[in-house]
């Protein structure tokens, strides 16, 4: 009985030792990985810091203006080209001629009569058009 128990204890002790060794080893590897990861985080943070500063240096207005002057043909007077959405006509405002537009038809332009040799060419009158809007009514 004692021998059996001793044997069992020895086996159990061996297994526990193996288990403990494995846990200790995993912990050591994890600690080493953590150290490496933290160092990598520091390096990445430093790189981000440097890249952010580099980006700010490269995108400063003076440098961009110099590049634009060298490579593009843009005007240096933007004020006349800028506007605001608030200055556009309102989408919901009724159009005065909404009915006319909705009911409008385009007529295929007819070929203009060829001027004959006898009939001298007349200057076009104001309002002359090769097509017209036709009111269909509802």
């Amino acid at each position: 009985m004692i021998r059996t128990l001793n044997l069992a204890f020895i086996v159990m002790t061996g297994l526990v030792c193996l288990g403990l060794y494995r846990i200790a080893e995993e912990a050591r590897v994890a600690a080493a990985d953590l150290k490496v990861t933290r160092a990598a985080i520091v390096r990445e943070n430093d790189a981000l810091t440097v890249l952010g500063a580099e980006w700010a240096r490269l995108t400063q207005p003076g440098r961009i203006q110099a590049l634009v002057g060298r490579h593009l043909e843009l005007s240096d007077k933007p004020e006349a080209q800028l506007s605001s959405l608030t200055q556009l006509p309102s989408k919901n405002a009724p159009l005065a001629a909404e009915g006319e537009i909705r009911n409008a038809k385009a007529v295929v332009p007819q070929p203009l009569p060829q001027p004959s040799a006898q009939a001298p060419m007349q200057p076009a009158q104001s309002g002359d058009s090769s097509f017209a809007l036709i009111h269909t009514g509802t």
């Binding site: 600690a31 700010a56 995108t59 207005p61």
Partner: protein
């Protein structure tokens, strides 16, 4: 565990002892397992790399654009005694770090203990040194302040010393906030780098065109008090610790005081309108000059026998302004200027602020000359703060370099009506007065020109001028003030040979307004009128 009945006592005792030992050992193991698995106790992390943090927070402009940042750098030290070949090491280190080879050879020659080879090595240069594989080298990690915009914003932001302590500008003025912000939150300044660039560019151009000794400018939000841009020329490179020839670390917009000349008439007329001591259509006798005691006050050019009070302001008549000022006199002028903040040191985040200079004895003659901006010296930023109060409806603001979108609810110093009248007068200066070159179609610029003679050897020198212009837009509902000052400009063909504020600073301010108004979301009136008939 039970021993055989026949076993001797000593055997049973040993078995019991062994059993106790095993039980104790298993208990310890079990306890540790529970500790690790349940309570999560892990190995100590003393050996793990600690994440270093920069000493100072980032400075960013109002749109988040980086202005100043601590960058990781290393200081390189060497033990010359450990180097196999000092000359070869000096050569290789000079290549890798950019240091002077002869200087390194001199340093390594005495085989002294531990010497500084190079400060502030960037990470790539540090890697280059590491690849050399030289013995006896050591790095000390740290941070170095970097200013991506360089000279553009040098005077406002300032500098730090080699230990990363602020020594000038906002770096010094905001020292406690910048060093106290360890949670990586940047300090958001009121500056707008786009506006700063436009202002700096215009000043540089004007300084070049008119061959000035110095120049400067300010863009201020007249309602919130935020300084959107501040430039002073000559400037310097903040990333270098050396000044190039011609550079200056002096911030002329706050550190120096000037007699600003006619631009000061803004306050003379504000007082007159507030006190109702003048009607704007009232004729004022100009003549050939105004004799006051032993002094004769005259104008830059002959403006005619009489001018209306409004045109006295628009045409910038010293004679007319002095007469109008004398109606209120020094007893009202001095308290008024004090109320406008022009006789007190300016309170702002910039530490380099000069106190104003004004006469101890303030009598009629002094009041008359101060009315047109001679005899009192203020720093330009203090002037713009007072001018902002004149046009913003009458509320005194405190200029700030921190983003602050709310309208300042400062002390009311003049009435709304006076402010409105002054805006009309300032518009008149640009439409029919001395500041016509500052007009920008569609933006309704108002303003005032200033041309002051500089004092030299106890008298005023006619050829040494301080020319300035203070522009406000849009004048019907002012939001922004643009000030520019040129120190000793020289007339050129473009200015018709004149070096006055109206001929030099006014057109430059007009160009600045034309460029920054769209960036600031100020609409052109003509476009608006076309879209909303």
């Amino acid at each position: 565990m039970k021993a055989r009945p026949g076993a001797p006592l000593i055997v049973r005792s040993r078995i019991a002892l062994a059993a106790l030992f095993c039980a104790t050992a298993f208990s310890i193991v079990a306890a540790r397992l529970v500790d690790v698995m349940v309570f999560g106790a892990g190995p100590r992390t003393a050996g793990a790399a600690s994440i270093a943090h920069p000493m100072r927070a980032d400075l960013v402009d109002r749109n988040g654009v980086l202005i100043a940042r601590d960058l990781p750098v290393s200081d390189l030290y060497a033990m010359p005694a450990a180097l196999w070949d000092a000359n070869e090491a000096a050569h290789e280190l000079a290549d890798a770090t950019g240091a002077d080879e002869a200087h390194l050879k001199a340093l390594f020659a005495p085989k002294r203990g531990y010497i500084l080879v190079q400060r502030g090595l960037t990470p790539d240069r540090r890697d280059a040194v590491m690849r050399l594989g030289l013995p006896g080298l050591n790095f000390e990690d740290g941070y170095k302040r970097f200013y991506p915009s360089g000279r553009i914003v040098a005077h406002a932001v300032g500098q730090v010393d080699t230990d990363d302590h602020g020594v000038s500008g906002l770096e010094l003025g905001l020292e406690s906030s910048v060093r106290g912000s360890r949670d990586a939150a940047p300090i958001v300044l009121s500056l707008d780098m786009r506006i700063q660039y436009v202002l700096e560019h215009a000043i540089e151009e004007a300084a070049h065109d008119f061959r000035t000794k110095a120049a400067g400018g300010i863009v201020l939000n007249v309602r919130t008090g935020e300084v959107l841009a501040l430039a002073s020329m000559p400037d310097y490179e903040p990333n270098s610790r050396r000044l190039e020839p011609g550079d200056s670390i002096r911030n002329r917009m706050t550190q120096d005081v000037y007699e600003l000349g006619s631009i000061f008439k803004i306050f003379a007329f504000t007082l007159a309108v507030e006190e109702k001591s003048v009607r704007l259509d009232e004729p004022i006798n100009i003549g050939n000059g105004l004799k006051l005691g032993h002094y004769l006050i005259h104008d830059f050019e002959r403006l005619g026998p009489t001018l209306s009070a409004a045109m006295v302001f628009a045409q910038s008549s010293n004679i007319g302004t002095a007469q109008i000022e004398m109606r209120t006199g020094p007893t009202k002028q001095k308290p008024f200027l004090r109320k406008m903040g022009l006789l007190e040191p300016l309170k702002t985040e910039l530490p380099e602020v000069a106190a104003p200079l004004y006469p101890r004895h303030w009598e009629d003659v002094e009041a008359a000359t101060i009315a047109y901006g001679h005899g009192i010296s203020v720093n330009p930023l203090g002037f713009t703060a007072a001018a902002a109060a004149v046009v913003n409806g009458g509320t005194l603001i405190q200029p700030t370099f921190l983003k602050h979108d709310e309208v300042q609810s400062g002390e009311r110093v003049i009435s709304e009506d006076t402010s409105r009248t002054m805006r009309e007068l300032m518009r008149l200066v640009v439409t029919d007065g001395t500041g016509t070159k500052a007009d920008v179609q569609g933006y309704d610029v108002g303003g005032k020109t200033g041309t002051a003679e500089k004092a030299e050897n106890g008298s005023y020198a006619h050829h040494l001028l301080i020319s300035s212009f203070c522009g406000v837009f849009p004048i019907h509902d002012p939001k922004y003030l643009v000030f520019m000052m040129l120190d000793e400009p020289h007339g050129n063909r473009q200015s018709g040979g004149f070096a006055t504020g109206g001929a030099t600073a006014a057109p430059a301010v007009g160009r600045v307004i034309a460029r920054i108004a769209p960036l600031l979301g100020v609409h052109r009136n003509d476009i608006f009128a076309a879209a909303n008939p």
